[in-house]
């Protein structure tokens, strides 16, 4: 597949590797033989049309969905069809913000934060509460989770993903429903994880967001990884200055020549 190393002079260190990962739901193949590597210290933006397999790819990494074929390695842990449920400890380093979140209706925001820290066995000193304050949630800790608006729900979900200081941060359309200021703040977490040498994987439909954040862009369509290239190379190859303009050109090129590897 079209996996490339980054532009950095230092050699990127792989953290997560997908090898021939396929996932079938009944008759539908949600992923078809995806090969790719995610490195330490980078943000990869995962884009593609609806139902292209982005969420499935993420869920395979998290162990929510079990691959039909292929294998995923993260650090030393192997996930494949024969080992669908590796020891759960590997998820301790992962923070995940799902696309949709629903929380137990009768709990309060504060209860939920305490609970998730407790489930992970983390003490207050090990947690990072900066995001709680910055998103204004510290004033709403007594609010019942059933009464939250979509945006507040997203904020709570972002806090749950980032608060445990993950070294792998996975966010599925994190800014959907968030106001611009909160969006910027949540995406700053991606920068932080990258700066600390972590790996960040974000799906988005907003091209400006992808442009500002991405080290590399991966494009999925029909469960197939069409290309995965550094942001600046995509712009250089296509001779454009915006990703929105570059995308159709990239896809056309990729159709003509199966080996777009820069």
């Amino acid at each position: 597949m079209h996996d490339t190393t980054g532009p950095m002079s230092s050699l990127p260190e792989p953290r997560i590797r997908f090898s021939g990962v396929s996932k079938r739901y009944g008759a539908l193949w949600a992923l078809r033989g995806v090969d790719c590597t995610f490195h330490k210290g980078e943000v990869v933006m995962l884009i593609g049309p609806n139902a292209s397999g982005k969420t499935t790819l993420i869920k395979c990494l998290l162990g929510l969905v079990h691959p039909t074929e292929g294998r995923i390695t993260i650090d030393d842990v192997v996930i494949d069809a024969t080992r669908p449920a590796p020891p759960p400890g590997y998820r301790a380093t992962i923070g995940y913000m799902p696309q949709i979140s629903q929380f137990p209706a009768s709990l309060r925001i504060g209860d939920l934060f305490d609970m998730m820290a407790d489930v992970r066995g983390l003490t207050a000193a090990e947690l990072d509460d900066g995001l709680i304050t910055d998103l204004g949630l510290h004033k709403q800790l007594d609010k019942r989770l059933s009464t939250l608006s979509g945006g507040t729900r997203q904020k709570v979900s972002a806090v749950l993903a980032c608060r445990t200081r993950p070294s792998v941060l996975v966010m599925d359309e994190p800014t959907a429903g968030l106001d611009p200021i909160s969006s910027t703040r949540v995406l700053a977490e991606a920068d932080r994880v990258r700066a600390a040498g972590g790996t960040v994987l974000v799906t988005s439909h907003l091209m400006e967001e992808v442009e500002t954040l991405a080290d590399r862009v991966a494009y999925l369509e029909d469960g197939t990884l069409r290309f995965m290239l550094p942001m600046h190379e995509i712009l250089a190859i296509t001779g454009t200055d915006r990703l929105a303009k570059a995308l159709p050109v990239m896809l056309e090129r990729e159709r003509m020549n199966e080996n777009v590897v820069a």
Partner: protein, 255 residues
């Protein structure tokens, strides 16, 4: 598992439906005891209510709750805890909350109005029914992707056990009354957990002949002691097998 149990139970104790169930049961039990002068008669009416209502509530509530917490289950599943710990905690909490509600709604009136061995047996078999149908509910929720379908399946199963099964058994008995089918009827009656629970109470109350066909046969066939043991054992299997199937399913399930 203990942490999942603790927080799920916390959520459930604040759940309106669980509270409503406790109050409904309390109203029914209290009402029956106040309306009826003879506590024994009230107890018998209560047996009929418990045998129909408890399976329905346990089954439907478990199914609905499991669907409602689906996204939250997903959030738990991405934490560094094993799936069996998640489902184990949730099932224990569900069973705990329903049993707690039942202890308030059924246990207290029984203790006040009819503190007898029969009442104790009603509490025990009612609790067994909670466990059986909560386990079945979890299995249904894990097998069916859609909530509406899940609830439909739950209602069908409830109707089957509470009504259809006994009716078919009775019909078969009449149709085949020329043959010596009694030895086959006993194990068949034992396949229905509601019948089993009823039988356990009736063997204790010593009114088995009055209380339904399968009860009569059972009493006749086993006598009190062994009948009770067999019924309890099969009920235990009814608790264990759906719960075990749920764990197997949940381990491999795509969330």
């Amino acid at each position: 598992m203990l942490k999942v149990f603790k927080y799920t139970l916390l959520d459930l104790t604040r759940n309106r439906f669980v509270l409503g169930y406790a109050l409904l049961m309390l109203a029914i039990a209290q009402g029956l005891f106040l309306l009826e002068d003879d506590p024994m008669k009230a107890l018998l009416s209560l047996v009929q209510v418990v045998m129909a209502l408890v399976p329905l509530i346990a089954l439907v509530f478990t199914v609905v709750y499991m669907y409602d917490i689906q996204e939250f289950t997903q959030l738990l599943a991405v934490q560094p805890i094993a799936r069996r710990a998640i489902l184990g905690g949730q099932l224990l909490a569900l069973a705990g909350a329903l049993l707690l509600a039942q202890a308030v709604g059924l246990g207290i009136p029984l203790l006040v109005h009819a503190p007898t061995a029969s009442a104790l047996m009603l509490s025990i078999s009612g609790s067994a029914l909670v466990l059986v149908f909560a386990g079945l509910g979890a299995l249904i929720a894990l097998r069916q992707r859609e909530k509406a379908r899940g609830v439909g399946v739950a209602l069908t199963i409830w109707l089957l056990f509470v009504l259809v099964y006994d009716a078919l058994l009775l019909w078969g008995m009449f149709a085949l009354s020329d043959y010596p089918i009694e030895p086959f009827i006993v194990p068949l009656a034992g396949l229905n957990p509601i019948d089993l629970a009823r039988i356990m109470v009736m063997l204790e109350v010593d009114l088995a002949a009055m209380m339904g066909y399968s009860g009569a046969i059972y009493k006749n066939f086993f006598g009190s002691g062994p009948g009770m043991a067999v019924a309890a054992l099969i009920l235990l299997l009814w608790v264990a097998i759906p719960a075990w199937r749920s764990f197997v399913m949940f381990r491999k399930k795509d969330l």
